[in-house]
Symmetry: C2
Subunit: 95 residues, 2 copies
DNA sequence: CTTACGCGTAAGAATTTACTTACGCAATGC
DNA sequence: GCATTGCGTAAGTAAATTCTTACGCGTAAG
């Protein structure tokens, strides 16, 4: 399944999700670890992670009763590529 | 004033605004011209343009009673740069 | 087996968003 | 001058977003 740039943009439009993403850029973390870092509840983090997963920005693996979340750099590269394409008049790149 | 990546992301998170931006990637247009292209009213386009202007994604110049809108590629480059920075663990780039 | 932990989901409230129609104002044209 | 064009703003609304607390389920530990 190709990455949907629209979904990636929507996922990253929220400041809380951006904080999660920038944290995950430094390495995987569990839901609880993320929740401790920010001033929002754990369910809120869980809901944000669902959106990030749907956009394929974050990927999650279950290990025992923990869920390890890690960044998918491809989503960010796809976003960067899209932005560069739109900025240049080399006509390609729809949304 | 530096470009706020958060504002750029929020501006581009909406599909209608992305259509406006991709249209402007091919050259300037007036508010009315944009409104004719999409299935939304002219005031809606005007409101979207205001958000794009605030994010510095679009710049507008008044010529007589027309307003010519044009893309600011710097905003898209800033977005691309941010995305690449987050994707890579070269630790920099907050949001 | 029973308790504690980690986490997602459900339900609901408070905002925010993306539209609409109605209106008003400045620039052009006659 | 007066009418028309191009456009922004105001006000209202329906739907989506972002939280919260309460709850339930599976895993691990005692």
């Amino acid at each position: 399944m190709a990455i949907e740039v629209g979904a990636v943009l929507a996922a990253l439009a929220d400041a809380s999700r951006r904080r999660i993403v920038t944290r995950l850029a430094q390495g995987p973390a569990t839901t609880g670890q993320l929740a401790e870092l920010f001033p929002i509840s754990r369910p809120a983090v869980s809901q944000h992670l669902k959106i990030l997963q749907t956009a394929d920005v974050v990927r999650t693996t279950l290990v025992g009763r923990h869920r390890w979340h890690e960044l998918n750099p491809d989503a960010l590269h796809a976003l960067a590529h899209w932005a560069v394409d739109v900025a240049a008049p080399h006509d390609k790149a729809p949304a």
